[in-house]
């Protein structure tokens, strides 16, 4: 009798669909059509920016004999007044902008997450000091500070990214602190304490991995924000410097030519909008995917 029961239990054990947290998250993300479509478009843009230059016949720094040519088969995005191929420029610009944006997001997220986790975990005086400092950073007029600091960056993309990240991490730290404040009351944190785990272990092994949802969502938003800031900085002349280029710089250079050579303005502009929009949609999708309230109905 019990043999039968055990066998049946065993059978049931193995017919249960196994699903990890990750699989569940991916499933929920895939249901968000706009986000999936955005992800697809964004991948195309990234491939275009990083693989495109290897295949395209012109280099972004190369002067072609064609000056100020409107889009054609030879120059799909047209050329600039000094004969550079706009398609090559946009590819290089997108590359630089994406690099700045990703580094910004990674750096700001890393600093902010640790900062917020420490504040939320220790509370009290540590929390007060860390968060007042974060508040101070938040009150700084970002564009002005970035402009002053970035003026000394000599157009290096990673320095620009660090400057933007240096002002953006405070937002991340606020978010992570909030999440950690609620997580630290969970029993599994108390369990780790009862096992004798060190604070470092609790923060890095238990708190931060569980705050991953909001952190990732915010990181995508940061990518979009950083693209826009880099554009703004380059537009103001504090970002990437010629002969290198970025999307912001391209738009800036073309602003006097909107009427005469509109392709120089609209193509890089279009890319800025596409990147910012798709990343925002992906962020929406990720937020829904990580949201525990999206769990399927359980009775």
């Amino acid at each position: 009798m019990t043999d039968t029961a055990a066998r049946r239990a065993a059978e049931r054990e193995f017919t249960v669909r196994e699903r990890t947290q990750l699989q569940l998250t991916v499933r929920r993300f895939l249901r968000h059509r706009l986000a999936v479509a955005s992800l697809f478009v964004l991948i195309l843009v990234v491939v275009f920016a990083f693989v495109g230059p290897l295949l395209w016949r012109y280099d972004y720094a190369q002067f072609t004999p064609d000056n100020s040519v409107a889009p054609s088969l030879k120059h799909p995005f047209g050329t600039t007044e000094d004969g550079k191929d706009e398609l090559a420029l946009v590819m290089r610009g997108t590359q630089q902008s994406v690099k700045v944006a990703v580094l910004t997001a990674v750096a700001a997220t890393a600093i902010g997450a640790v900062w917020g986790a420490i504040a939320g975990f220790y509370r009290g005086l540590v929390d007060a000091l860390l968060m007042r400092f974060a508040d101070l950073v938040l009150t700084l007029p970002l564009l002005a500070v970035a402009a002053v600091l970035a003026g000394n960056t000599r157009g290096s993309w990673w320095l620009i990214a660090i400057v933007i990240a240096g002002l953006q991490w405070a937002i991340v730290s606020r978010i992570v602190r909030g999440v950690v404040l609620s997580l630290r009351e969970k029993e599994f944190i108390e369990a780790a304490r009862a096992l004798g785990a060190s604070d470092t272990r609790i923060i890095f092994r238990h708190l931060l991995p569980n705050a991953i949802g909001p952190v990732i969502v915010n990181a995508t938003i940061l990518v979009a924000v950083a693209i826009l800031y880099e554009t703004a900085l380059s537009f103001l002349g504090f970002g990437i410097k010629a002969p290198d280029t970025s999307l912001g710089l391209l738009v800036n250079n073309a602003r006097t030519a909107v009427d005469t050579r509109p392709w120089l303005f609209y193509f890089p502009g279009l890319f800025i909008i596409v990147i910012a929009l798709t990343i925002n949609f992906i962020g929406d999708g990720l937020r829904d995917a990580f949201d525990p309230r999206q769990q399927r109905i359980r009775q």
Binding site: A5, A6, R8, A9, V16, I297, Q299
Partner: protein
């Protein structure tokens, strides 16, 4: 049962569409509630006991698909308009939930809420008369110094007091039926005893029938006349309280009683039921208890047994082998083997 039936549920089915498929929370449940009678519905989490009561009250979310029939005093409730239903809820059937704050409005005094309920259905009643009646009702449910408590706000009262206010509101309009869904689960035992006492007095006073839904077999033992055991969305055994507790004929009921620690019976090991309840999603054919059942045979995998008579009037069990449980003890049927130490099956 000779007394008239106030509430008749026939072949009730409730399904929830989810992203993974359809969850069949209630799979054809039928029972009747006689006037003044107390019917206890017992089940573990996920057995469908609460969904059944919500379906009766028409309180399920719109996404739920409800089929079957729920007749109150001969009138079909399924498919009634929200307006007609709320009329029934106010006058004929009252409901008591686990958390009293779901029924109480935090911004009004207890008295105000009882008076509102009284006057909503009795236009002619004066404010003064309603207030007097409210104090009376609070006294019935065992609230000390009711004349003062009538002006208390819910947040000024303890959980047990709040639940008693809810009971007072529930009986304000002399309902025919009170549905109490885990009314004491959130309370401490000494307070639970007080609230159950209040509930008993309330039903005595109004003559209302009580549908008592709980996971606690002890509460059922003390308060129910008849009992229905639910498992995986179905009633698997029904009978008088004595039938169920002394001569269970469905292995699940027997196992449940055997796994219960008892204050008056400390000796010996408990007899757990191996495994855990099935997911109500994609339920395989056959008896849903089969994977945990020591009596299981091939027929159990093939066909789900209907709820059929066991030979005693009113005592039905849904088991192909119910006759093998005559005079069986849980410890013998559920031999504690590896299944005891074994896992409870993967969560769905």
């Amino acid at each position: 049962m000779t007394e008239p039936k106030v509430l008749e549920v026939a072949d009730l089915t409730v399904e929830f569409p989810t992203e993974d498929g359809v969850v069949r929370a209630v799979r054809g449940v039928s029972w009747t509630l006689g006037a003044g009678e107390t019917l206890g519905i017992v089940g573990e989490s996920g057995s469908g006991k609460s969904v059944t009561s919500l379906a009766v009250m028409g309180l399920l979310p719109a996404a739920a698909r409800v089929r079957g029939s729920v007749r109150f005093a001969g009138r079909e409730l399924l498919g009634l308009s929200e307006e007609a239903l709320s009329d029934v809820r106010g006058q004929g059937i009252s409901m008591i939930f686990q958390d009293p704050m779901t029924s109480l409005n935090p911004v009004y005094t207890a008295g105000h809420q009882i008076i509102e309920t009284l006057r909503a259905h009795r236009r002619g009643m004066s404010r003064q008369a309603a207030r007097e009646r409210a104090v009376e009702l609070l006294d019935i449910v065992g609230i000390p110094s009711p004349a003062q408590r009538v002006d208390s706000y819910p947040h000024e009262l303890s959980g047990g007091m709040r639940q008693r206010i809810v009971i007072a509101i529930a009986i304000a309009n002399d309902p025919e039926v009170i549905i109490a869904d885990e009314p004491t689960t959130a309370l401490d035992v000494t307070v639970q005893a007080q609230v159950l006492e209040a509930l008993e007095r309330a039903t005595d006073e109004t003559g209302a029938a009580l549908l008592l839904i709980t996971h606690d077999l002890g509460v059922i033992a003390g308060h129910a006349d008849r009992v229905g055991i639910m498992y995986a969305g179905k009633l698997v055994e029904t009978g008088t309280v004595e039938d169920i507790f002394y001569t269970p004929r469905m292995p699940y009921t027997l196992g449940l009683l055997g796994s219960l620690p008892r204050m008056d019976r400390p000796e010996g090991r408990l007899t757990p039921i191996a495994g855990s309840p099935p997911s109500l999603l994609n339920l395989p054919p056959g008896c849903p208890f089969t994977p945990r059942c020591p009596l299981a045979a091939d027929v159990c995998d093939a066909t789900e047994p209907p709820l059929i008579g066991t030979g005693r009037p009113g005592h039905d069990a849904a088991c192909h082998f119910h006759d093998r449980l005559v005079d069986a003890a849980a410890g013998e049927v559920f031999a504690t083997t590896s299944a005891d130490a074994g896992g409870e099956g993967s969560a769905p």
